[in-house]
Symmetry: D2
Subunit: 336 residues, 4 copies
């Protein structure tokens, strides 16, 4: 740790960009050197709090010679171009998911990244959640024997605005994408996808031809079956659970409760409130760990950062699920 | 309750037949009048404990004029003929699931039963489990608002012998059939079935072309999605859970623990042993309630006994799942 | 088990008497031969259901020559005389707690019982509760190392009528007596008693100078400290828990929940209703086990039935607690 | 919050002093201005990390004119003199518990503090634990009706060194002191104390005539009974629980688990590891809240900081418990 902190250029200062800014400032191995947002007020607000030179043009950031790594938290359609520019400049990049909504653009970018040798990582933060990481490590350590079934439950507290739905690429590419990566975190070799989607409560989803509820089932070459249960709403709060079932037992990751206090009365035994609020709180430590793992990757240390190919695989699965749910078929996939 | 107890003829004295014999003897509204089994030693053993005249020929039982109702617990291939004979004789019948492994024979029997007016009920005992019944009643009472997703987890402790697998009709018709009925207990209007089956641990299943692990997803006309997770084994013990997710919340049915005692040490907090042992124990009270509900049906009182059409619907879903899993397709069904 | 069933004479057919009648009838090793109650209608009601000759005079029962054992479930003031008569007749007796409210009468009876060699057992049914028995066995097996602290929580759902309080001997002799025996089940060698009682909610207790709330602390010669927490009411339901704390860990016995179903909503995660209802339900299996253990004692088989000296020790502790709470002192005791 | 941050002088840079230094640095309303420790290396280490001028003499800190408040985290025997000096200088002080081991010195200091009007607060951090604070607020809000019994369980993971025991003042003044304050947080009007202490496992405690295990029972004028269960060790980890029992129900504060992951196997259902590690982790947020509440006190804003009289009351209760346990008596106390 005697190395000098990594100087980050942050592109995008929306909600998730601000989370990363805070992580960069808090990690002793990184500093915020440049902050870029076309809505320059956002960049100024971030820089005032965490430091960094402000710009509204990514060009300037890349040309500065003052950034050792770029963190891309801008809207999805800008990701491919910004990754390309970073790789061209030999600058490592940590990019928010998804790479793009169009797999063709992803495939086109793939050879360049492979050839470049420049570290490129993707923001699948849940891999770094202590509970999920521990469950996966314990499965890998054989605590439940061979894995046979994996159930991922992932429900958001409330649906996003209709305007967001319109450009999101649909529930599978926008929301389930995290669960596809989580599935592959435990079981990389997925070969078959089936999915059912329905639209029962969200007017925004209905308006834009999207689903608000979905169940996706994945089959791995090894025979492991993964079930992903999604909903765009959850009265109970953010519902993020995993159940790994194996030959010798079962590992369960429960929701994060927010209180140690429970009340028993004549009517009931209750703990309130039910679950941890939304994702910034639930995954706060995961974002910090994700950043630090990327720093290790940049430094050439052993790292478990999700790769470009992890990002590509998640998108292929999302496309397959979208097709399965829309056409009522089972879709075979090749993630190689 | 001033009516005289119902005189039962029991056909079949294997494991499940003996459970029913005990229930008949214990219910103040029923007595065991005749006991039939071609392996007559079994019939004698039951009659010694719970009373009743013994025979190895069903003919004799039907001709006796001493049975008010028949309980069919013999092997599946005999069910259709025994039901038919009972109905012809005007004798109400409670038959163990499934009706038959061949839907064609079920469809052929259907009009006769409908025309006869004789009460025919099927042994989907889980509807009578206090926990599942309570969850369903609470869903119906609106405690979680409109139902959107239902997850049924159903895993047996250990696979049956290969010889049983050979004549079982496969995991969907033999094991999931209970879960199909449970699905319809909550959500009757199923229209679409997808299913993935794998064979990862059981040599008997492999030998007979069966699956040992399966996930089935059902879509209802209303948009509700049902997920059924099955395994032929479970190191943890009999794993029988339900999660009903609705607009306003979630109802969960946990596994039945067998101990109030938990141990905390430097390594862990543990409760042992994990779950209730196999189905006779887990569903003991359900079998008794099932019998009593059938008695009410016979007496013309309001009853929730599963009907012939419930048995037929479960078999149609099982056939559809078998096809979906084998051909890797999504299957549309019509339960009308 | 080829011995002929034990013929019981039951004296007293109030609530607890009827429980014992049902246990006697259900145990294959016992039958109900005689039923006695001065309110002879109660005896008739029991005999109609479980069999037995009816009388309103205990004399007749003892003189019949048809009882192999007596179960005394009559009011406390009759216990000493009935025990004495049984012992004089060489008839084993299982007597409900407490022996008597006056320790002098107990001490006076003690030598006769010791000299007689007739089996005399007391109804401390909680020793036979599967959870408590398991916890004690696991402590004895060393699962938590040397025991250091034991916490017993024992709260009734609601206070008894004032008329019952008037003759109960006070909370320590009437209610805590069970907990004193439970304390001694884990830690026999108690040498010191302190107790605080208050009267905060029950008019009946106030009227008769009794406490409705109490905490008793016992010190054993070995240094183990036992804490007993009592209340005459509990909105949550019957509250019966134990926590055994040792060098290597902790064993906890939770309350018996009555449902596997839990509801999660935007406000709370709740399981309802909270706890098992009153003692006949909570300890149903304990009463049956208690009876069977007594049958073993009568037959000369190894038995863990609580003895006369266990009943005496509990009363000595109750007297000490009463004095400690009333005089605000710490009381030394000698249970030898 | 437009006020300038409060400049703190920190006296004492041991374990707890460093916790406070971190809190002072992290709170936007405070800065670390001076750091004092006779072992000046400790002061330098703190100042390097969190800022501040270093000295080994408290005189210099007080004379600097650069501290708006003093945080006393030095050894107990120095507390009274440092508080006095701060009050003489009109400087608010937040002092670690206990005030002193000698109640006479505390009583002597009391009038001066009362007369001075200088804010003096004590470090009973547990009042600021979110779970305990919530439980107390919910009791105050009437969620369980009138409070009748309060159980505090407080066990450390492992005993301190014998050298620490020697100067600690004994378990009641050193460890239970926190629980006495917690008892008074819920029930201020304590009038009676009984206590049993034993020494069963710790050689250090035995050597210095101290107890390693204790149960203390407090009675309030209102009739509420408080039970405090202590041990100097706990294999399970830091054991910090509260159970408040009232007319309408019960509020329970569970131990803080460190993992959302649980494992079910053929033998058991277990969550590991059991409980949150030691107090700096368990009460991290409490220390920060405690500091902030003191800042509010200094600024004249409404504050719930424990007062000098709270510190005095806890010591009186500790003295009473020590006497009760040693002399085997019940002790009446007057906290007015």
């Amino acid at each position: 740790m005697t190395e000098r902190p990594l100087r980050f250029g942050l592109i995008g200062t929306g909600r998730i960009g601000r989370v990363h800014a805070a992580s960069i400032a808090a990690d002793p191995d990184s500093t915020l050197a440049w902050v870029c947002d076309p809505i320059v007020e956002g960049a100024h607000a971030v820089a005032e709090r965490y430091g960094g030179t402000v710009t509204d043009r990514a060009d300037e950031l890349f040309a500065s010679g003052e950034v050792d790594a770029v963190l891309v938290a801008s809207p999805t359609p800008t990701h491919v171009e910004l990754i390309e520019r970073a790789v061209d400049g030999g600058i490592p990049v940590l990019c928010e998911k998804p790479i793009d909504l169009d797999i063709a653009r992803v495939e086109a970018l793939r050879p360049k990244i492979a050839a470049s040798g420049v570290p490129v990582a993707f923001g699948f933060n849940r891999r770094f959640d202590p509970a999920f990481a521990s469950a996966r490590a314990r499965v890998a350590a054989g605590e439940i024997g061979d894995l046979e079934q994996l159930a991922i439950i992932s429900r958001d507290p409330a649906p996003p605005p209709a305007a967001y739905i319109a450009v999101s690429g649909g529930i599978f590419r926008d929301m389930t994408i995290h669960d596809f990566d989580m599935a592959r975190f435990f079981v990389p070799d997925i070969v078959e996808v089936s999915a059912i989607g329905t639209t029962t409560f969200d007017a925004g989803a209905r308006e834009h031809g999207d689903f608000d509820t979905a169940v996706t089932v994945l089959r791995a070459a090894s025979g492991v079956i993964v079930t992903i249960t999604n909903s765009r709403h959850s009265a109970v709060g953010y519902d993020q659970r995993i159940e790994a079932f194996g030959v010798d037992g079962m590992l369960q990751v429960a929701n994060a409760g927010t209180s140690l206090v429970s009340l028993s009365t004549a009517r009931a035994v209750e703990a309130k409130p039910p679950y941890e609020e939304f994702f910034l709180e639930r995954y706060a430590s995961a974002y910090a760990a994700e950043l630090h793992e990327f720093i290790r990757l940049v430094r050439g240390e052993p790292s478990t950062s999700p790769t470009f190919d992890d990002g590509r695989a998640a998108l292929i699965l999302a496309d397959a699920a979208q097709r399965a749910a829309t056409e009522h078929i089972v879709v075979q996939v090749d993630l190689a």
